[in-house]
């Protein structure tokens, strides 16, 4: 796997991490919690290599 692609996987994992952290820390808005999950969907699928 080319190095650039590996870096993009790492970037995706970092973004998923930030989304999940903010999801856990979000206490006030349920709608925001759901939005974090929706945004995370394509990145989780990419990292898991699900087509």
């Amino acid at each position: 796997m080319p190095i650039v692609m590996i870096i993009y996987y790492i970037l995706s994992i970092c973004l998923i991490g930030m989304l999940i952290y903010n999801f856990i820390k979000e206490k006030e808005s349920t709608t925001d919690m759901l939005l974090y999950l929706i945004v995370a969907i394509p990145f989780v699928l990419r990292v898991l290599r699900v087509k």
């Binding site: 970037l11 903010n22 969907i41 394509p42």
Partner: protein, 437 residues
């Protein structure tokens, strides 16, 4: 078939309107997509019901790359701001060019244009540099209502400026046109329109402010900050883009997210103040959430519209409008749809319009660039008024929202005319695309 698609479209419009009553725009778009998909599946088996969930999930991937660009670019700009770089440049501008008004205005104009141009979001321009630039403009003797108007128009234009133009990216992704050759067709009109706007609204000085008072009230710059520490990350960023273009077969294609990440690391290393990068990144993602969610959900909407035939119906409707009327209607359709759907406007109308204009011999890249000038105007219109509300907030304008919008009417009109003329004469402007490659 026509009747079936109309029912799906109607259900989507109703779902959007009902949800908009109580929830933010991203939920309205999502409900329109889900309801449209369910109606299409249950009533007409388009798509088959067992395929619906797959389409909804698949739609989230449509603009995944744009989300990555958004995030990395905004973290980069947040580091530049946190290190004191933005305050340094604004303070230096006021200090050295307070009595050379045109130069001061032009530098402040560039400061607003850069974050939006790099991230593709005018809201980032407002959030990152809006407040200090607004303060500087007030100290240059410009009334607050005009300052708000300047911030709004420039932040909108910055979103359309290269290298990252989300409307163009969405349209390109939906029309299978490569996002290449947009630099000059976007940069030249945007620079001219920005200069016109800032001089038209800001040239006349009102009030009796002094340089000493302005410098006293401006944010302090951290010790050790120099011009090179501000400029170097940007030089690296643009350098990487240029090097890729000059030696396309020797340099690996890195893509904008990786280039922004490298620039962010350089800005972080050069920062004279210690930056808590993890907390800064988490805060940035939190602040970006509505934008990221909108882009992802617009992807779902686009997928559902395609699979149910709504997108085809809209394309067909566009094609049947007489061409002169179509050109004139762009002045209303694109900003108003942007005000309702934000980036979704590009997917809903931008894509079929581009197909149509391309089919009648206009140059697709210049057409997309021309339309890109019209979308950001809608960011001042309700119900979303994304950039408009942020401009009011950062410039601390307390007056009537409509009064602020009225101040923008001349630049608004000029931008509209330029955008439409670019579309009409796109074939004659195709040399700009060639020069960009």
């Amino acid at each position: 078939m026509y009747f079936q698609i109309m029912i799906v479209l109607l259900s989507m419009v109703i779902a959007y309107a009902v949800t908009k009553w109580k929830y933010p725009v991203e939920w309205s778009i999502l409900s329109a997509a889900v309801v449209g998909g369910i109606i299409g599946s249950v009533l007409f088996s388009t798509p088959p019901i067992r395929e619906l969930f797959r389409h909804l999930v698949e739609g989230t991937s449509t603009y995944m790359d744009i989300v990555l660009v958004f995030t990395t670019a905004t973290i980069f700009m947040a580091i530049v701001k946190e290190s004191g770089g933005v305050d340094y440049v604004i303070r230096a501008t006021i200090k050295h060019f307070y009595n050379r008004r045109i130069i001061a205005l032009l530098i402040l104009m560039f400061i607003i244009l850069v974050p939006g141009a790099l991230t593709g979001a005018g809201s980032v321009s407002c959030l990152v540099v809006g407040a200090p630039v607004a303060l500087a403009l007030v100290y240059l003797g410009i009334p607050r209502v005009k300052v708000t108007a300047i911030i709004f128009i420039l932040a909108g234009l910055s979103a359309a400026a290269p290298p990252v133009n989300i409307w163009a990216m969405i349209t390109c992704a939906g029309t299978a046109i490569p996002y290449v050759g947009f630099e000059l067709p976007l940069a030249i009109p945007i620079l001219i329109l920005s200069i016109f706007t800032v001089l038209f609204l800001g040239y006349k000085k009102e009030g009796d402010t002094t340089l000493e008072k302005a410098l006293q009230d401006m944010p302090k710059v951290p010790e050790g900050m120099t011009i090179w520490k501000v400029v170097l990350p940007f030089l690296f960023f643009f350098g990487m883009i240029i090097v890729e273009r000059i030696w396309p077969f020797s340099i690996p294609v890195m893509g904008l997210p990786l280039e922004f990440t490298i620039a962010a690391i350089i800005a972080l290393v050069l920062s004279p103040t210690k930056i808590k990068i993890i907390q800064l990144s988490l805060d940035t993602v939190k602040r970006l959430l509505p934008l990221l969610a909108t882009v992802i959900i617009v992807g779902i909407l686009q997928q559902v519209m395609t699979v149910t035939g709504v997108r085809g119906l809209l394309s067909y409707t566009v094609i049947t409008i007489p061409i002169t009327l179509l050109f004139i209607s762009l002045a209303f359709v694109l900003p108003i749809s942007e005000g309702i759907l934000t980036y979704g406007a590009a997917a809903l109308f931008g894509i079929p319009l581009t197909w149509y204009f391309d089919s009648i011999g206009l140059h697709a890249t210049v057409v997309i660039a021309g339309m890109s000038l019209l979308y950001p105007l809608g960011d001042g219109l309700p119900p979303t008024a994304l950039i408009g509300r942020l401009s009011v907030m950062v410039s601390e304008y307390k007056g009537n929202y409509l009064n602020f919008l009225k101040q923008t009417w001349v630049p608004w009109l000029v931008i509209t005319i330029v955008g439409i003329l670019m579309i009409v004469y796109s074939s004659h402007l195709s040399f700009l695309v060639e020069w960009s490659k």
